[in-house]
């Protein structure tokens, strides 16, 4: 086998492998769009589900999803960014930082069903919150916390040391340096992490179905139950209630993620340009 021959075979393999992988993945998006888009309309987005989801739209599920994400971000962002600030600004590498980082990594690896089990037993049953936006929000917050910590840390680390030096020279306190100089500069990176978490949270089912519940009502109070879009899709698809609505819900989900990704790219670009 000459090297030239090996090169050709290898190239052939790589191309076919890549082609296969990408073809499968694009097939998935294509099927969802082709089968789902025709059923999306303004009515679909603004009407509530009727007749168990066979008719009507998905409005209450959209509200549930947004409400859930907002609650989990309100909890996870302060905790996550605060942790990242501590790790980078207020200590040096040592035992404490190693423990906190290890804990974060382990938390990232916890299977979502265990978070669901934990959330169900602790928040829904033992603490008496019931199936609610609160139970779901706290559980989801725990799930996205590691992502926010990790990306915030990266973002804060990448702020040039010069900023902190200038702050010190001008006689500002550490707190002033952090809030006025470091954080605003790290904001785009932190925002990326937030957007990543939103992407994860939107598609999460195992945690949400056992903590938020499956009620088709629009949640108003934080103690109300609801049904997120991903859970709604799961139920529609499983039970064969309405294939067209299932595909349409999936298409809405894919679109949301697309919009979120586009926004994050746009923001990243804008801030990177702005800094220059």
């Amino acid at each position: 086998m000459t090297p030239r021959r090996a090169e050709h075979i290898a190239l052939g393999l790589m191309v076919s492998g890549a082609f296969l992988a990408l073809a499968i993945l694009f097939f998935i998006i294509a099927v969802i769009m082709i089968k789902g888009l025709p059923h999306i309309s303004a009515r679909f987005l603004l009407d509530n589900p009727m007749d168990m989801g066979r008719a009507g739209g998905i409005f209450s599920t959209i509200v549930s999803t947004i409400y859930l994400l907002v609650v989990s971000l309100v909890i996870a962002i302060p905790l996550g960014v605060g942790t990242a600030i501590y790790l980078t600004e207020y200590t040096e590498e040592g035992k404490i930082t190693k423990i906190v980082r290890f804990g974060t990594e382990c938390l990232a690896g916890v299977p979502s069903i265990i978070l669901g089990l934990f959330g169900f037993i602790l928040f829904v049953i033992k603490l008496g919150f019931g199936w609610s936006v609160l139970s779901g929000g706290i559980s989801l917050a725990i799930m996205i916390l590691p992502v926010i910590i990790r990306t915030s840390e990266e973002a804060i680390k990448s702020v040039p040391q010069a900023f902190r030096d200038v702050n010190e020279v001008l006689g500002g306190s550490k707190w002033q340096g952090v809030t006025r100089l470091v954080l605003p500069n790290a904001a785009p990176g932190i925002l990326t992490g937030v957007i990543l978490s939103v992407g994860r949270g939107i598609g999460e089912t195992a945690v949400v179905i056992f903590t938020l519940g499956t009620s088709l009502r629009t949640p108003f109070s934080i103690f109300d139950s609801g049904r997120s879009m991903a859970v709604h899709f799961y139920i529609l698809a499983r039970e064969g209630i309405s294939m067209s609505n299932a595909y349409a819900t999936a298409a809405v989900l894919v679109f949301s993620i697309l919009i979120i990704n586009v926004i994050s790219y746009y923001l990243m670009h804008k801030f990177v340009e702005g800094r220059r």
């Binding site: 090297p3 030239r4 090996a6 090169e7 190239l11 790589m14 076919s16 492998g17 890549a18 296969l20 992988a21 990408l22 499968i24 694009f26 998935i28 998006i29 969802i32 905790l79 605060g82 942790t83 600030i85 501590y86 600004e89 207020y90 404490i96 906190v100 974060t104 990594e105 382990c106 690896g109 916890v110 299977p111 979502s112 069903i113 265990i114 669901g116 089990l117 934990f118 169900f120 037993i121 602790l122 725990i142 916390l145 306190s173 550490k174 707190w175 992407g199 939107i202 598609g203 089912t205 056992f210 991903a230 899709f233 799961y234 698809a237 299932a246 989900l253 894919v254 993620i257 990704n261």
Partner: protein, 288 residues
């Protein structure tokens, strides 16, 4: 404000941040505490050997053997890696070493979009398209270990590809130049030098993918069949540890509920072992 006041305020702020930093540790601790407090007494009562090695899971009759599910979870993870790993690697090598940057610029965002698609959508498409194929052309009920491995393999592709692409792209061009100047072809340079240099990143990608496969629950419930038997062939239906927890969580109580937490302990160790392997590999590379 006097200098002493400022210093005191700074110290207070530092302490507040320390508390916040421990919040993530605290939630992990709380989860671990919960699972162990609820699960360990059950393992004590039933016996570790019976719990881990018995194949009989009939909680309403007092049998709590999870061996069949441990085997299923194991094979599903290995299988998902077999389907998603090489395919993902081939794709990333192609994207970095052989494709133009324009192609890369289109594909990378598309991959991030795919990474965000809910796993239940993958599961559903698997039920609609893959299960009939397996059933009609390969045999068995279609809901099987094989179907699960394929779908999970596809699910981890975006993760594996994007991290591998990042690692491969991070290998300095000087490495490749050096190989070329020694007379290597592109493929020789790739597999003898670049992949080697990106090894720790690639392994991280694979381990992360594996982690996702182990933890996947709802999609697996849709395609695996959930039968309580050790799979004797890839076409047999299986039930993973995660699916079992999800199927029984709503109604389990007493010893049964504790058994689910004990299953959680087993999963915990599974995942922690994966994490340790990953950090060991990554560290070794860095030392070199």
């Amino acid at each position: 404000m006097s200098a002493a006041d400022i210093k005191r305020k700074e110290k207070l702020i530092q302490r507040i941040f320390l508390v916040i930093a421990f919040s993530s540790l605290f939630s992990l601790f709380l989860i671990a505490l919960f699972i162990f407090v609820e699960g360990l007494p059950m393992i004590w009562k039933v016996g570790l050997k019976d719990f881990l090695l018995s194949t009989r899971w009939a909680p309403t009759k007092g049998h709590f053997g999870i061996f069949a599910m441990i085997v299923s979870s194991f094979w599903v993870t290995v299988g998902a890696l077999l389907f998603g790993g090489p395919l993902g690697l081939m794709c990333s090598i192609f994207l970095v070493e052989f494709a133009s940057s324009k192609v890369r610029a289109i594909i990378k965002p598309a991959l991030e979009l795919l990474a965000g698609i809910p796993s239940v959508v993958y599961g559903f498409l698997g039920v609609v398209y893959l299960v009939p194929l397996v059933r009609d052309y390969l045999g068995g009920p279609g809901l099987s270990l094989l179907t699960s491995c394929i779908i999970l393999g596809i699910m981890i592709l975006p993760t594996v590809i994007s991290i591998s692409v990042d690692s491969l792209a991070a290998v300095p061009d000087s490495y490749r130049e050096a190989a070329f100047s020694l007379g290597a072809t592109r493929w020789q340079a790739t597999h003898m030098v670049t992949i080697h240099a990106a090894k720790s990143g690639i392994i991280t990608a694979l381990v992360l993918g594996m982690g996702r496969a182990v933890g996947e629950t709802m999609a697996v419930i849709m395609i695996a069949g959930n039968a309580l038997k050790i799979p004797l062939s890839p076409l047999d239906p299986i039930r993973t540890l995660t699916s079992n927890i999800a199927l029984e969580m709503g109604y389990a109580s007493g010893l049964h509920r504790q058994a689910l937490f004990a299953t959680g302990i087993v999963l915990f160790f599974f995942v922690m072992a994966l994490n340790l392997i990953a950090t060991a590999f990554a560290r070794r590379k860095r030392v070199k």
